[in-house]
Amino acid sequence: MDLKCEDIWAGISDYLDGDLEPLQHLAMTEHIGQCKSCQAVLEGVRNVVSLYGNENLFAPAPGFQRRLRSWLTERVEGPKGSWWGWVAAIGLTAALAASLFLAVVRDHSNPLRAPMSDPARQTPQQLVAVVEAGKLFHQPGCPVIHGKFRLVTPEEALREGYTPCPRCLGEDLRTVEQVTKPVEVGENRDSLGVKESPKR
């Protein structure tokens, strides 16, 4: 097979890749062996293929893999991550709400304020004694009563802004403290018809 240089140039890729029929391959080998310039073409192309086939030639910028992974994680795994995030957030909120609830309950069972500072929530059944200049109402005969007193119903005493005496009406107050249900003080007051202390 008589080949020209142009035939070699046209077939040089297939020759290198081993894509030629054996006879054609042999004919090209013979021509290249005798033609310096075609040999230079073959060697040049072979060198090009070898150089560009080196994986280090196109190394990405440092940190490429880390950046890519983080970018993908954020976008691809993001929906799953945020679902877990929502679960965690809901759980945390529930835990906070529960601890707040317990704190309120505890606050009501162990008040920091003195018992007499709270208005009475459970009133005695009999008439109580009030002194005009005082702030408490008492059971008649209480040693704390000083001066002239008058007898009124507990409801009247509460309406007028008196609070129960912790000494003689302590039992009523203790009964009140055993109530553990967290209720709004204002709401409770309203239900009992309690008004704010009168400004005297």
Binding site: K4, C5, E6, W9, A10, I12, S13, D14, D19, K36, S37, Q39, A40, V41, E43, G44, V45, N47, V48, V49, S50, L51, Y52, G53, N54, E55, N56, L57, F58, P60, A61, F64, Q65, R67, L68, R69, W71, L72, T73, R75, V76, E77, P79, K80
Partner: protein
Amino acid sequence: MPDPLRTWEASVSDLTGVDRAASGAGEEKLLIQRIRAGESDLFYQLIRPYERRIYVIAFTIVRNQADAEDVVQEALLKAFTHLAQFRNEARFSTWLTQIAINEARMKLRKQHSSTLRPIDDQENDEGTYTPRNLMDWRDIPSESLERSEIRAKLIAALASLAHKYREVFVLRDVQHMTTEETADALGISTGLVKTRLLRARLMLRDLLADGFEGMFGKPAQFPKGTNPWT
């Protein structure tokens, strides 16, 4: 009692590359199924073997590192969102390569539309390419790639080719894809892949012929009337 010959054959078969490749493809299919079923955290595991390939393809098309990284990210995100459309009869790597090429072309198109320059020259694939006439070729050794200026020169030479040649050259000679895979990925015939590859190789050879220190380029001498370059 197991047949010893069959056991031996099985163990030999386990060591063949064909079996390993088949096993890899099987694992890949399984991964794809699991990701489609909602295990999106496995996606990185799926694309990890190809991230470098996708980067190189993107880089050789858009010709700068930052844009190439953008292309890789967008291509992989697109692959994830369209994974349901991937059909198992195609190779995942080829499908991913197609997406990366399209993303890179789109990026290039956007850049060129803003500068009102054509994306590529309209060089004809028809006709023969005449390589430079050289007396000899002195190899550029692979070790020289450690020198950054050599790498820059090689990258610049590749970047100077029209993108239709670059794409074929990168898939075939940089990514070592077969002619058929390259044709599939680019949506062109195998004949066109071969034509463009030949031209890309010859053009690169000519671009690098002067070497890096003027060591090449001595023209060949022919007896009168026999010079094929004239």
